[in-house]
């Protein structure tokens, strides 16, 4: 509780940092914030061309011209948010080693800043996506609000995992390297660019037990089929998020002091 009190006292600093990180990303670039949009857009274009046109992969049962692009966006954008939060929190202590060693301030500010920042980036791109849906007449309607609990679970999951890895990463620098590799596999073992139905039966159990499958699947269900998520499928990841947040917080509190000596 005292930790959150300290965070509240430093809210000015947190906000200012978020603003600064956002600005510094773009102040020296001519196109500024446009880059936040161009990057995932390029990815979506590439996947749309390769998967929808070249490989002729059609979503079973849906014939809309945009449906594959929407399917992709629903997965790629949220997955992007997931990896950005995860990789940033995982490296946050190492990156700010100097600050941590030299200045006394609530250290938990750092992951909070990083998460808010990733959130802002996500909101920009996702806002545009929503705008596109409305304009092209594909807005899913009331089920859109199901996003809120889903995103909440996702943030909890990535923050819990990120903090856990972030603390471990200070002591075992292999973790950071290792997770870059893990994320690559994880991406392809989650039905983000392909529908789960096209997988051979042998691989399916792995993908089905992947906690992110349920989450990404729910996003796709909302945007492509305009249906409420199947809430039962989300129990595992919700539970996992709570556990990971607990572990992360515990690790952080136990090792925060030692961490500074190690940086």
């Amino acid at each position: 509780m005292r930790m959150f009190g300290a965070l509240w006292n430093y809210r000015g600093f947190i906000l200012e940092s978020v603003k600064r990180d956002f600005q510094s990303q773009y102040t020296n670039a001519l196109l500024g914030a446009v880059w936040t949009i161009i990057r995932p857009l390029a990815m979506i274009v590439v996947y749309t061309i390769i998967f929808a046109q070249v490989m002729q992969a059609k979503l079973p049962g849906l014939g809309n011209a945009f449906s594959y692009s929407i399917y992709l966006c629903a997965g790629v954008l949220t997955w992007g948010f997931f990896t950005e939060t995860l990789t940033k929190t995982q490296n946050v202590f190492l990156e700010h080693a100097n600050l941590l060693k030299k200045i006394s301030f609530p250290r938990f500010c750092l992951p909070v800043i990083v998460v808010i920042n990733a959130g802002v980036n996500f909101l920009i791109i996702f806002g545009l996506f929503t705008l596109f849906l409305i304009l092209s007449g594909n807005f899913p309607g009331i089920v859109f609000i199901a996003l809120l609990p889903l995103l909440l679970v996702q943030v909890a999951f990535s923050v819990g995992l990120g903090i856990t890895l972030g603390v471990l990463n200070v002591f075992f620098r292999d973790i950071g390297q290792f997770f870059v590799v893990v994320l690559q596999f994880w991406f392809w073992l989650t039905p983000v660019v392909y529908p789960i139905e096209i997988l051979p039966a042998a691989v399916r159990p792995i993908v089905e037990n992947n906690p992110m499958t349920a989450l990404i699947g729910s996003y796709q269900r909302i945007f492509v089929e305009a249906q409420w998520p199947v809430w039962e499928t989300l129990w595992p990841i919700t539970l996992l998020s709570v556990v990971l947040c607990g572990i992360g917080l515990r690790l952080f509190r136990q090792h925060a002091g030692e961490m500074v000596d190690e940086l």
């Binding site: 000015g12 600093f13 200012e16 600050l99 030299k102 200045i103 006394s104 075992f172 000596d261």
Partner: protein, 410 residues
């Protein structure tokens, strides 16, 4: 507000024998054969002291004595391994100036940011901003990105932000070389004024003058332990002697008749027997000296072992321990070479006592080369105390007698 209590504090860093040992220690629980696989390297041990609100404390010690670690524990960036550090009130540390400055942002933005990092609120900073800019003396540059600042300007701005609001405890690291001499004086004056208003000061320094000039008390750290605390001049003398005595620890301190602490040290291959002042004219021994009187400092010494070289140095100090003048036979280009055991020496230094009225002391050292650091045979602080009185000159103030030739045109 502003008290510091350090109780039995120790700090150890963990050292693991290999890359995998830490992982093993973390993963193998105690009940199936897990054991600590690290060694503790203690950098600070058994440190206890307390500082009253408003006190000014100097911390001295050689490099690696643990000064920075101690300061970091008091500011709260590192945790002590054992013991407890307790502070009351707002702590500001001038350890790393300019931390968190981003080159692409303006001075004002950076000042806001740095201030908030130090725990000030945006509203407060907004209010203090004109003062910060004025103190840093960077004028219109405040709206320019910090990237175009000179390093001095950056330091000045950082100092102004760190000292924008009077803290209850101020921690200053020695290397407070903020900008040019002018700004150094200005920043030192700011620190002094905080002290006068009741801020507790903790300062790490090697500068004798700074410690004696500002601090009420000094603490000496040696090899991670608190080896002495007390009056600044006594601690600084002991520290100086210690510098010369890294290997042979023969530093002795004793109270003189006047209640001052005398420090003597040395390996003893050459010894000082007697130190006194003579009047140049009559050759009489002097206890008190008239301003401007021609006097001679006489040092009797003898050699215990054959030595290739001996240099004798002396320093006249005022009653606060500040050196007024000092030299040695190396600088006077007259070191003695090839000395035999049993030889007796008598040095005589003649000079006019161009000193202001007051009490002075003489420190004498026998050593080689240009300082006492390399080899120190005998070092004696307060080897002799004498009084300077103004018997026949016009009244003046200060430590030196610099009589001018005066003229005035009108």
């Amino acid at each position: 507000m502003g008290a510091i209590v350090v109780e039995g504090v120790g700090k150890a860093y963990k050292q693991y024998s290999g890359r995998w040992s830490r992982l093993l220690e973390w993963l193998v629980p105690t009940w199936c054969g897990g054991r600590p696989r690290h060694q503790q390297k203690w950098v600070l041990q058994d440190i206890s002291f307390s500082v009253e609100p408003g006190e000014a404390i100097g911390i001295v010690g050689v490099n690696g004595a643990g000064k920075s670690t101690l300061l970091k524990m008091i500011t709260g960036t590192t945790q002590p391994t054992v013991g407890r550090v307790h502070t009351t009130g707002r702590v500001a540390a001038l350890l790393e100036l300019g931390m968190g400055f981003h080159p692409d942002f303006t001075g004002r933005q950076n000042a806001m940011m740095a201030g908030q990092l130090l725990g000030l609120s945006a509203v407060e900073l907004e209010r203090l901003m004109p003062e910060i800019i004025a103190f840093a003396e960077i004028g219109d540059y405040i709206e320019q990105p910090v990237r175009v600042y000179s390093s001095g300007m950056q330091m000045r701005l950082a100092f102004s932000v760190a000292c924008a609001k009077r803290p209850d405890i101020l921690i200053v690291d020695e290397a407070l070389s903020v900008g040019d001499t002018y700004f150094q004086h200005k920043s030192f004056e700011r620190i002094r004024s905080f002290c006068r208003q009741g801020t507790t000061l903790l300062m790490v320094s090697h500068d004798k003058g700074a410690v004696q000039g500002i601090c009420d008390r000094a603490i000496l750290l040696d090899a991670g332990r608190l080896s002495m605390q007390g009056a600044p001049d006594a601690v600084m003398d002991y520290y100086n002697a210690l510098l010369a005595e890294r290997d042979v620890s023969t530093v002795r301190q004793q109270q003189t008749d006047q209640g001052q602490v005398q420090t003597a040290s040395g390996s003893g291959e050459a010894r000082i027997d007697d130190v006194y002042l003579l009047d140049e004219g009559s050759g009489a021994r002097l206890e008190s000296v008239n301003v401007g009187q021609s006097i001679a400092l006489v040092v009797d010494a003898h050699i215990e072992k054959d030595l290739p070289e001996v240099v004798l140095g002396y320093a006249i100090k005022d009653r606060w321990g500040q050196t007024i003048y000092g030299t040695n036979t190396h600088h006077l280009r007259a070191p003695l070479k090839g000395l035999r055991a049993g030889e007796r020496l008598q040095y005589r230094f003649r000079f006019p006592a161009n000193l202001g009225a007051g009490s002075y002391s003489m420190s004498i050292a026998l050593h080689t080369a240009d300082t006492h650091i390399a080899k120190n045979f005998e070092w004696r602080d307060l080897a002799m105390v004498f009084e300077v009185i103004n018997a026949d000159k016009d009244n003046f103030v200060g430590l030196a007698w610099l009589p001018p030739e005066m003229e005035c045109r009108r």
